[in-house]
């Protein structure tokens, strides 16, 4: 009487398609690697349990993951540092570092995104995944205009930093 094997109704496909994207989405939000990975797993577990009720899985999993991550961070903050569980980052991150070792641009972009002020990186992460300002406004509970303003500032900052880099590199060759 098992009701939904993993393959049913495209859960497995959804998982394969969204797993890397969701992880990057959380990293871009500024989540620590372990926290991001925990939140990713937890949201997929919940997605599986509620698969029949979810209308828009791509959005659902993102809002859920952000919520889980937030709750985790808030809870951890209340625990003294030395009482916290010791973290073992999953080995995949070491491998990821190796993969991206030679790709300065990738690391730089992610680093810049994670270095944005909270609101800006939040808005950027959603925007990066193709969501429109009015949708983002709804997800994070601020006004359309506030989203647009944050987005503008985030992109301006990114352009400036990335442009500088281009400039420095350019001058080096002159």
């Amino acid at each position: 009487m098992s009701e939904s094997p993993a393959e049913q109704d495209g859960f497995a496909n959804f998982f394969a398609e969204e797993l890397p994207g969701l992880l990057v989405f959380l990293l871009r939000q500024g989540a620590g690697r372990e926290d991001a990975w925990d939140a990713v797993q937890e949201s997929f577990i919940r997605a599986y349990l509620n698969w029949q009720q979810i209308d828009n899985p791509r959005t659902w999993i993102r809002t859920t993951a952000v919520r889980i991550y937030r709750r985790k961070v808030t809870r951890d903050r209340e625990v003294p540092v030395d009482m916290r569980e010791e973290r073992h980052p999953p080995p995949l991150f070491t491998e990821l570092d190796q993969e991206l070792d030679h790709d300065e641009e990738c690391r730089l972009v992610l680093g810049l995104l994670r270095g944005l002020p909270v609101r800006q990186r939040e808005v950027m992460a959603w925007s990066y995944d193709g969501y429109e300002p009015h949708e983002i406004a709804e997800f994070i509970g601020i006004s359309d205009d506030a989203v647009r303003a944050s987005l503008y500032q985030a992109r301006r900052r990114l352009r400036r930093h990335l442009g500088e880099r281009g400039n420095r590199r350019g001058t080096r060759h002159v």
Partner: protein, 498 residues
Amino acid sequence: MSDADRVRMSEADLDEILRRADEKTKAALARVLDTEGDLARVVAEAERRRSRDRKAVSFWEELTESERAALRPVAVRREYPVGAVLIREGDPATFVTVIESGWVKVITETPDRHESLLAVRGPGDIVGEVGVFHGRPRSATLIAIGPIHSLYVPAERFAAFLEKHPHARRVLTETIRRRMEEAAATPPPDTSAHGIRRLAFLLFHLADQFGSRVADRGIDIRPRLSQQELAGLVSASRQTIARVLRHWRDRGLIRTGRRTITVLSPGALRSIALDRDTQPPPAEQSVIFAAEIAEFSGRSVSARDTLHRLLASAFEDAGIPWNTCLREDRGDGVLAVTPTRTTAAGIGSALLDRIQSGLRQHNLTRHNTRIRLRVALHTGEVHRDEYGPAGPAVEHVLHLLDAKILREGLTGTDLGLIVSDPFYQDVTRHIDPEAFHQVTVEPAVPRSPHWRRLSAGHAATATRPPVRGLHDLLRREFDEADPRRTPDRRGFVLVNPA
């Protein structure tokens, strides 16, 4: 530093860089992620939670495939329509039944022919096993609440099956043990319990036995039942079910949809079922009207006919169609209960005015059929059972109508009117409060051995503290448990009705 403020990159260039970085990061992740392994882990964890959350696995599910294969050929497939009796209390236990699909209610009938819901059983459940197991007559009646497909297994064949399959035997004893534990932890409310408690028990039981956990919290209950079906299961009116479900929804105990109920707080429902709830649903108020003919001088026309016509037009004029009221003919009087959620304030003074003017007009124009009326009004919750309106509020209005002051104090007027304290409080905004005079009504004479006697006792305490004793303690507990049962003895009499 002015250079640093200059943005050298175009929006399009930024988009291009972001897109490229995204592609490459995801590609790199895809290389290092163990997608299949992660999927397996996620699914395994989800399934583990699901099975943990679904406490009771049915008898049939617990059997191994080979045991099921062994049981099927010794069983007879049986189908039952809705309402069919699968097992009748007191019959010899000669078979067990495994429900393949559909739902049955397990009930017991009290000597006064009220039925009490003990449990609901559904797909995969075994029923009738207790009697067979103990060799005793059936201890309850099972009735199909939906079409049933089942496997009927004669007792001796079932015994032979168990003989050969020790694992199945363990599953069965485990099933029986679990059911006994559950019944002990949350015993079904007895027949005298309020419908609210029986409904709470039913929902808790269904969530506990057949619920599947959804979303972050909440248990979707099966079977899907309409309010009418719920009403039938717990022997309450559909209106009560609707009202109580609404109240629980507002309290956040359940979520409701069309034929779906999600239990958000099984613990709270259990407390209600066990009568440990602290927030009973608000009473659905009605206005209760009682009239009695004090004197009728007519000969040719029936007094009752006159009374009914008079009241019908008065109610109609006050905006409450007479036929929407629950009415009870009381010989030379009438008891009427307005539809729920009519308040005294809502009626305002209109009803009183109409009755008064109608009566005056009648008596002015038809001297030969002069009529004098006593009227009592109260507002409160009215229970409706198969015999009509009932409950303390109805008792109270009849008690007011019977008040000595109304019988004797208002001679010489056509209309003697008394209203209860709650009614008075509700309508004072609409009528002249000075027109009424406060009176104290003598306590009701005990007529039946149950709450009325307690109520009378309560009235006595109002004037003279009684000797403390067991009776007193019980009574106090009783009164505190349901303050509605001891309506205020104050009444208000219309001083100058003419």
